[in-house]
Amino acid sequence: MLAKRIIPCLDIDKGRVVKGVQFVNLIDAGDPVEQARYYEEQKADELVFLDITASHEKRETVLELARRVSDEVFIPFTIGGGIRTVDDVRLMLKSGADKVSINTAAINDPTVVTTSAQRFGSQCIVVAIDAKRRADFDPARGALGNWEVYTHGGRNPTGLDAVKWAIRIQQLGAGEILLTSMDRDGSKEGFDLELTAAVSENLEIPVIASGGVGNLEHLYDGLVKGKADAVLAASIFHFREYSVTEAKNFLAKKGVCVRK
């Protein structure tokens, strides 16, 4: 049976790992390759590197990161942050990334997703969605009309409905969705389970839940109640509150299929 995936997320700034709480107050937490090896030993299923302050002049730093990680780490990894063009995607994959995560560029120019998927395969195109509950959130309304897509770390509303946008992304050829609740990100209160389930149930492609993990029960809820195919977490792993091994033991005991 296909295992549910546990994915540590490493936020990267100038080639170093940092962790943002609600995308501010950054605290330095180490070297990316060392961190990647540490997580690989714990049987993390994949890794995500998000270059949170990516801009064009920093591109070479990120490509170098991809090369270093792919030389030494034998699990799949995704790189996101500042991917704007098909050529950015090409260079990142050529440097050794297994997947790239596209966020704002998918909204500004959806052909980046379509063209990249056609050229390199859907399997390596992850589209990141940052969603927030609407002020008039009403569970009775169901999947549509309750969440809005944001960009720029949750600052800019787009007017797009999160579930509709996720369906559109699947049609464009993305292979996977990285879904972050901006309400929960950094809160340690757990995933937005209604959001996660609404997106996962309406898609054929896998969904990675992100934003809000504070304990192991949250991971379980995301996978079981939220119906996510994978869960992403940063701070609970970085600050050694839990190891990935502990997380997997916990989930296995509760009957979730994980790789051990």
């Binding site: 296909l2 034998f74 990334a97 399997q123 896998p206």
Partner: protein
């Protein structure tokens, strides 16, 4: 020298790095002439079946690959390189494959997430030098939306369960010709062991 065929589809760097990490000599090559000086041939790749076949034919790899396998030299297909060995695929129209393994490639039926993406367990149908030292239920990393249906049971070396039995490894020990649907270069210890077994043939 392990020769990794680059037919301009997908990320081959990890395959090369895995062999180098294991202490073998490996190179990525777009030149069919390089095959002559190789000891092992690897056909990796990601992406669409039809386009992959077009590239292989246009770059002059089709006959050298056939000749290599016919001669019983060590061969390993990975992911699309696994699917290309079959006779045909339904991916975006019907496409001809290399036809080395009888059977075809088709889309997963609905009722599951597609692609089949992530870690799944492989059980072995028989013993083979390729999987020596790798126990039943070993985990490997898969990414694919289409699956192969080999016609002959004898070709299937390993299977995985994705709500249905899916061929994960095909092989012919006498010819030293193998192919894997998963990515051994992304499958940690079990994957590296498989690559090591292959490189030692």
């Amino acid at each position: 020298m392990i020769n990794i065929i680059d037919f301009k589809m997908g990320n081959l760097r990890s395959v090369e790095k895995a062999f180098l990490h294991l202490g073998f000599e490996a190179r990525i090559s777009q030149d069919p002439a390089d095959i002559g000086s190789a000891s092992h041939l690897v056909l990796p790749g990601d992406g669409a079946f039809g386009r992959s076949m077009e590239h292989i034919a246009a770059m002059g790899f089709e006959q050298p690959v056939r000749g290599w396998i016919a001669a019983g030299m060590p061969f390993l297909g990975i992911c699309v390189g696994f699917q290309l060995l079959f006779e045909r695929s339904d991916e975006m129209g019907e496409h001809r494959g290399l036809g080395i393994v009888p059977g075809n490639v088709q889309k997963f039926p609905p009722g599951r997430k597609i692609p089949h993406m992530g870690w799944n367990q492989v059980d072995w149908k028989r013993e083979s030098p390729l999987v020596e030292g790798i126990g039943d239920g070993a985990w490997f990393y898969f990414v694919h939306s289409y699956f192969a249906k080999p016609s002959r049971e004898q070709d299937v070396l390993g299977v995985t369960d994705y709500g249905m039995e899916v061929a994960a490894v095909v092989g012919d020990d006498a010819k030293k010709a193998y192919a894997v649907q998963f990515h051994p270069e992304k499958s940690q210890a079990a994957g590296l062991k498989l690559l090591e077994n292959f490189a030692n043939m």
